[in-house]
Structure formats: C-alpha cells, structure tokens
Amino acid sequence: MHTFLLMLLVPLAAGILGYVVTRLRNEFSFIGAVVALYYAVRVFIQSRHGTVAYELGQVAGVPVALRVDALSGFVLLCVAAFAVLVLLFSLRYMRGRDGARGFFFFVLLGLACSNGVLLSANLLVMLFFWGVLLIVLYGLLLPGRPGSEKVAAKALVIVGLSDFAMLLGIVLVAVQFGWIDMAPSAPMPLREPAAIIGFLLIAAGALAKAGSMPLHSWIPSAAETAPAAVMAYIPASLDKLLGIYLLTRLSVDIFDISSNVAVRNVLMTVGALTILCAVMMALVQKRVMKLLAFHSVSQVGYMVLGIGTGIPVGIAGGLFHMLNNTIYKTGLFLSAGSVEMWGKTDEIDELGGLAGRMPVTFVSFLVAALAIAGVPPLNGFVSKWMVYQGVVELAKEGNKLYPLFLIAAMLGSVLTLASFLKLIHSMFLGQRPAALARTREAGFAMWLPPVVLAFACILFGVFAYEIPLRGLIYPSLPLLVEPVGIWQPVLTTLLVLASLGIGALVYLFGTARRTTATRTFVGGEMIADDEESRVTGTAFYTPVKHLPILDELLKYGERGAFDIYNWLTGSLRALGLISRHVVDRVLTALFEFTGSMVRLAGRGLSFVQNGSLPLYVGWVFIGATIFLLILALK
C-alpha cells in the first residue's frame, strides 16, 4: 500500500483498535503514533528531493489526489512528532480519567485527519479531512469538568462557522477558477473580487483553526474544562500547525498575497489586535490553564502578522513562529498539566514554591516561558525578530500603518514577559502553600516531553539558521528570503552565558547572599507565618485592571461581551424567535382564517340544503334559467 494511504490508515486503525481492545489501549495508541511518525520521517526525507504525488482518480469532476512537497513534508513531521509527545505524556496523565477511552481514539483520528489535510493535493480534498477535525475537536472537549458539554458545543459552533465560511470560499474560488491545486505552478494575484472574497473566506477558516481573534473564544473556555493533554494537543499543536500551514499555502502558493495591499493590511490588523487584546486578557487571569490559553491566542497574532506582511522574511518568520510556538506552548501546557495533576489545582492563588518539589518541570517550564516571552537566545526571539523585520520592511513600500503594527508586536512581547514572570513566581517560586507540602515530581513519561521541548527551544534558538531555518523553513517557501539582519545567535548565547557566569560569581562572592531574614510584621506586631499571610502573585497586574477605559473593556471581556459565540448564537436565536413568533404565527392564522371562511360558507350553504322538495325544484329552475340565458346571450 502507498505510504500516503498508510499515513491515513495506520493512526485510524490504531485508534479503533485501542478503542475496542481497552486493555491494550496505551500500547496500540502509542505504537500507532510512533509508526505514523516513522512514515512522516520517510515522507519528509522524500519531500526534500522533490514533490511526490499519488492520484486516486476523479469523482464528480474533482481530481482526488494526495501529494507531499517541502512545506507539507515539514508540517507532517511536526504533527506526528507532537502527537507522539502528547501521547507519551497522556499515557500516565489520562490514566483513570473520565473519557480516557475516547481521548486516545480522537487523538489518533486527529492525527490521521491532519495527515490527510497536509497530504491533500487540492483544496476540496482538504476540506473533507478538515471537516472531520471538527468531530475530533468536539470529541476531545466533551468529557471534562462540569460544563464541558457547553464548551464543546461552543467550540463546535465557532469552528463549524469558520468551516462553512471556508467551504463557501473554496467553492467560490473553485467555481470561478477551477479546482484549486494546493501548489499551482504560479500563484494567482489577488485582483478579481471573487479571488479576494474567496481568499478572505478561506483565510477565516485558517485563522479560526489557528485560534486568531475574533474566532478564538472557545480556547479560553476550553482551558477551564478540558484536561491539559487536550489543550496541548488541539489548540497548542495541531490547530496552530494546520491553521498556519493553510494560511501560508493560501498566501504564498495559491494566491500571491503581496499583490494586494488592502488584504495584507486586514491580515496584519487582525494579527496585531490579536497579539494585544489576548495578552491583556492573559494578564488578569487567575488560572494557569486559562492564562496559557490566552497566550496561545496572542501568539497566533505574530504568525498572522508575519504572513500578512507579504514580505519574504516576514512570512518565513511567521512560519518559523508557528514551529516555535508549537514547541514552547505544548511544553508549557504539558508542564502545567503536571503541576495541575500533582498539585490538584490550577488556581494561581493555590500554587507556589514548587520549584524545589518539581525541579525538572520547573526548568522546562522556565525555558519555555522565556522562549514565549522572546528572550534571546531562545527560539521565540528569532522568529519574532524576523516578524519585526518583515514589518519594518513595509516602510520601503510606503505603508503608513507599519509603526502601529510594530508597536503592537513589541508591546505584546513585553506584556507576555510580564505575565510569565507573574506565572513563574506564583507557581514555582514564592511561598509554598501547606496543601502542596507533599507534591512530588511527575514521572518519567510526564516530564520527558516537556524536557525534549525545552531542549528544542534552546537548540532552535541558538542554532536558528543552521537547523530550523535552513533545514525546515526556507526550503518550504517558494520565496527568496534575504539573510536576516545582524543577529548572531551563537555569539549572543556566549554573551548571555558569560553574563550569567558573572552574575553567578557576583552572587557567590558579593553581598547578595548576606540578606537578613525576619518574620513578617505589620505595625511592629509579628504575624503568624501561616496561610493567611502567604503572598500570591495573582494580583501582580491588578493595576492594569484599574486603568481608565481598559478596566471597563476587561470587565466586559471577562463577561463575554466580545465573544463572537454569544453574538452569533444570540443573533441566530433572535432570527429563530422572529421566525417562530411572527412567520409561523402569521401563516397559521392565515390557514385558520381560510378554514373558518370555508366553514362559514358551509354554514351558509346549509340553509339552502334543508330537505324540502319544493326548494330544490326551485333551485333547479333558477339554475336552468341562468343556463339558458347564457346560451341565449352567446
């Protein structure tokens, strides 16, 4: 059987087997994912030497074909790798949890469908696999804490809305320009209205998948009910990879985004707003998972901003940021999952001082947090740097808006760092609450994936050009990316290491260690060192909440006033109520009126139908007379 078919069928078969043979679920699932990874590596290597295609035939005039090229080969590899890591983590994490059986099935179904999306040779074939992911999303979100069924419905409706928009866009483009190949010989310029509308509709689907505003609102809600493994798998890895993959395909291969300034500005505005709004919301969160969820929304903004520039270095930066974000965000969700599992809570208020108890988790979380905040020399810095460069390049084209985008991106980065300082302090440093006294490090299967990911953060940052950019990103794009600025990560790393060394020396031999510790006191009176006096980090950024205008906006945001789901369901429900109480009522009344008219006529006629012979004879005479008159007049 062809490798492409195996990439679809192996995870599917493993998922079904794991679902049926419950006793061997872990084995089947994990082996299935590993085999899928093996095939992904093989296909990736093949894709380096050129495009590989596999035709399945033609149905209803639509060519059904699978194909892999450099870009899809790269994303295929990422998807399979993250699936393996998440599954490894979940073997222990999901044990005994509600819905574990379905979890493994849907993870593997998701893997199979993602492979399908990436292997599809045209948009219509892709639409099929893309749609099945809707079921995966619902299936993964359905079990969980109380209220999860509402969250799953919300996710289904929002993503379903974007899927329908995408379907319409794909059909529109296909009807106008023929069945759209994923990588035609030359991209189509965005000039005709049909092309522009089609592009925007399909991009809406891609953006919703990636979790960009305004179609993001299910992600923070899901963080409240779904297990961490689900968050790490769907919004953090799979959806980002697929959404940005499609956006890249759309902007570079299928259409030429650089040909339309207005569309680029729209995309960049969406990106910039997503960065800022989501990070603001993240600042004021009280739960680890929800905070991370808002960051995973915020980070999409950088990718969209980068691709929206239409400048080669910006697009490459966006794509690279997709890879980086997936690495550190999955790592963050997984380590936060460990903390939540062993600490039994993800309320920031109830955590603290876990660095000593969970050192491995702490270090991997720290590295990933610094990476997401864009601290050099980690990977997040390099891709953000490339995105900034793309935005700055816009100046050469005379784009007046670029300073705004640049400010938004940089401010977003600062606020991200700020919010992770709060998080690291509240989770791992500070005082440890009594409830966490017996917390211990997660097992091997649970700390290995975050450690691998943290290692990747460092590797892809320090050797950014040597490994990811030259090996994965640049070959995936049909663009000539100019070498980036004067940023030299290896040198920087050495400098950072040197400064860390100097810092250590200062710490060891300086006065820093000679601090005096004293018990807490207020107004000269000692306070008992108990839970009451524990300082938590939740309120770090409370002042943000009290800024004028912003405080009102945040308040409304927390209540869901900007949630597109509420708007959507509200307006559709309103339409429904109008239909029910106006259209339906009026029609019923109309029919009832007709009925009573008929009844009235019948009652009237019953007077002439009284059984007396003379009357009937009279009627016959009258009728005959009229008949004869008509005949005579003719």
Binding site: L124, L127, G131, V132, A153, F164, A165, V171, L572, G576
Partner: protein
C-alpha cells in the same frame, strides 16, 4: 391525443432505482420499528396504510404518466391522514385533518395545473412531454401541490402538528418517503422532463432558501426533541429544492444525494426520539440529558446521524451539502451565503439537541431501559450514512450513469 402511449406504465432507469432504494430502505426500517412497537390498537389498519404509503411513494418514482402520479399522490395523502390520526385523540384527529386539508387543497390546484398541461399538450405522459416547454402558470400551480406535499414555506404549516401526533415510525416514513414524493415529482417533471422558465427555478430557489432559514430558526427555538426534528425536516427539504432547482450536473447529483442522506439520517433520528420518549416518558429537551451515559451506543449513532444532516464529513450529508453549495454558488453567491447560514442553523440546533439530550447529566430520574433491537436499527442507519460517505463515489457514479441514461436519450 397520443393513444400509442400506455398510460399505466411503470418504468425507470438508474435514477429511479436510486430513489426507490432510498424510499424502500426507510420504509423497511420503519416497518421493522413498527413490528416491535405497534402491537396494540388498530394494527391491521396501521400496517395496511404504512405499506400503501411506501408503495405509493415508490409508485410515484416509477410512474410515467402524470395522472397516475396524481392518483398515487392522493392515495398517499389518504394513507397519511389515517396514519397521523392513529391514536385517535382529539389533537391527533385535528392534526390529521390539517394534513389532509392542506394536502388536498393544494393538490386540487395542482390538478388545475395538470389539466392545463393536458389541454395544451394533449397528453400527460412524461415520455411525450419530454423536452417541451412548460409555461410559468401551470408550473406554479403544480408547484403549489409539491410545496404542500414536501412541506416548504408557506405550506409547511401542517407538518409540525402531524409530527407531534403521529406514531414514531410514521414520522420516519413522513420525512423519508411521503415528503420525498413531492421532491420526486419536482425532479421528474421540472428537471428531467419539461423545460421551465428560468424565472420559475429562481423563484423556487429563493423560496427554498427562505424556507430553510425560517424553519432552521424555528428548530433552534423548539422545545421538544420531535419538534426540532420536524422543523429540521422542513429546513433540509429547502436544501433539496435548492439543489434540484439549480439543475445541471451538480444540482441533480447533490439534490438526489441529499434526498438519500436526509431520508436515512432523519429516519434514524426519529427512531432515537421515539426511544428517548419511551424511556423518559416525555420528549422535552429541558428535562432530558445524560443519555450518552446510560446508552452510549445510541448516543454515538444519533450523533453520527446529526453530523450527517449538519453536513460534516466523512458522512454522506457532507457531500450532498457541498454539491448543493457548488451548484448554488455557480448561479449566485448570495443564495450560496443563504444556504451556508441555513447550514449554520442546522449545526446549531443539532448541537443544541445533542447537548440537551445526550450530554450532561440525566434530569429525568427514572429512565426505562431502551429497546436493543431499535437501537440496532438506528446504529445500522448511522453506519449506512458513514459508509455511504466513505465510498461516496459509488452513489455519485450511480447517479451519474442514471443521468446519462435519462438525459442522454433526450
């Protein structure tokens, strides 16, 4: 008058075979359900009329003369009248009378249209009428009858009441067979046989979209399992009319696929509604919940059927909906947007239905155990929807070769 044509002829190609298979499958499933559930009361009358209804549906599929079709049409209405009133309560009788009166009145107008065709063309044989032009007025008169039978705005009004009153298998036959009789006539007369003015088809398409939107909206605000399904049927019939009124390759293929996808899935969902009602004693969505826990197989099967109707791959409903959108967008983007909004309604009320009936926790304390045999029927229907979606090229190929058969001979 053309006397060479044998007016009492039943004949058909692969398209007719496809439609008859769909109607037959739904009829069979409903009969199996009835065998288990309809055990007391007017059993003989019930089964006679069920068979008459299904048979007249299949008769309409194969008939080659409009007058024969009309006779079967009224026979179906008669059977429907008795079946809806099966329980013979006050409300059931009223609902049955409504159904009969709306159908009969509209059929009378249709008869006027048919009479006009007969007067102008001298025949009602579909074989002779082929390729001839049908003016706007008689076409509209015939359409009135079709809209009443196939429950489309503004004549859907009898349908929700009938669904509320009728026994569950009759509901399945209603949405899977009886309402498709109108679709079949529309398809045979306006799409395959006669040429109608473009304005007429545009009118039908517009009406279909509006009907679909209105009914989708009502379904979203419905209070019971059955009434959601009832209005959903109206909404989905709009999609079928939309596809068929676009004619052409995609319109016909998608329309017929949609008939199949909807009939199978809706029948299964009505059975589910029946099971849940039997088990909980009522069908109010506010007071249901947690069926997924007590009966996961039923939840999975019903979920699959809902996804098929909502047009989510890999179920057959996806391909049907996709085809309708392709056919529609070819003609007008605006109608396509309307169809997509209606699809969104469908997704929304299906999610709402699933969430309130299957997800969450049980709100009715004493749920009786479900009938395993009927759960099995629902599961089979769900698997048919799934399998048809995975090998979607088989039905598509069947319809394709049927179309060359029917239109190639033109």
């Amino acid at each position: 008058m053309n006397l060479d044509v044998n007016w009492l002829q039943f004949r058909g190609g692969k398209l007719e075979l496809f439609l008859a298979l769909v109607l037959g499958l739904v009829g069979l499933a409903a009969l199996l359900y009835s065998l288990v559930k309809i055990r007391a009361g007017r059993v003989a009358e019930y089964f006679i009329f069920v068979v008459v209804l299904v048979a007249s549906g299949i008769g309409v599929v194969y008939a080659r003369n409009l007058i024969v079709i009309f006779a079967l049409w009224e026979l179906a209405a008669l059977a429907l009248w008795r079946l809806v009133a099966y329980h013979r309560g006050e409300e059931e009788l009223a609902a049955a009378n409504w159904a009969w009166l709306v159908n009969f009145g509209s059929a009378a107008l249709m008869l006027v249209g048919l009479g006009q065709i007969l007067v102008e063309r001298g025949t009602l044989s579909l074989d002779v009428l082929r390729g001839q032009t049908l003016p706007f007025l008689p076409a509209t008169l015939v359409l009135v009858g079709i809209l009443a039978k196939s429950a489309t705005l503004p004549l859907y009004i009898w349908l929700p009441r009938a669904y509320k009153a009728a026994p569950v298998p009759v509901c399945a036959i209603l949405s899977g067979v009886a309402e498709n009789i109108g679709i079949v006539l529309f398809f045979k007369l306006f799409v395959l046989t006669m040429r109608v003015p473009d304005a007429f088809m545009v009118m039908v398409a517009g009406l279909a979209v509006v009907s679909s939107l209105v009914a989708g909206g009502i379904a979203l605000t419905a209070g019971t399992f059955r009434s959601t399904l009832a209005y959903s049927t109206v909404s989905q019939l709009g999609f079928i009319f939309l596809g068929l009124s676009m004619t052409g390759y995609y319109g016909i293929t998608a329309g017929l696929l949609y008939v199949a996808a909807h009939a199978v899935a809706k029948a299964g969902l009505f059975f589910t509604a029946g099971l849940v009602e039997d088990s909980a004693g009522h069908g109010e969505m506010d007071r249901l919940g947690g069926v997924a826990r007590s009966n996961p197989v039923l939840a999975v099967a019903a979920g699959m059927l809902m996804l098929s109707i909502a047009g989510v791959p890999p179920f057959i409903g996806f391909f049907a909906k996709l085809g309708v959108v392709i056919a529609t967008v070819r003609y007008s983007l605006l109608l396509g947007v309307g169809a997509m909004v209606s699809a969104l309604f469908t997704l929304l009320y299906m999610v709402r239905l699933y969430t309130s009936v299957f997800a969450g926790t049980a709100k009715t304390p004493e749920m009786k155990p479900l009938n395993g045999f009927i759960v099995g029927i629902v599961l089979v229907l769900a698997l048919v929807s799934l399998a048809a979606g995975i090998v979607y090229y088989l039905p598509v190929k069947l319809i394709e070769s049927g179309m060359t058969q029917a239109l190639g001979a033109l």
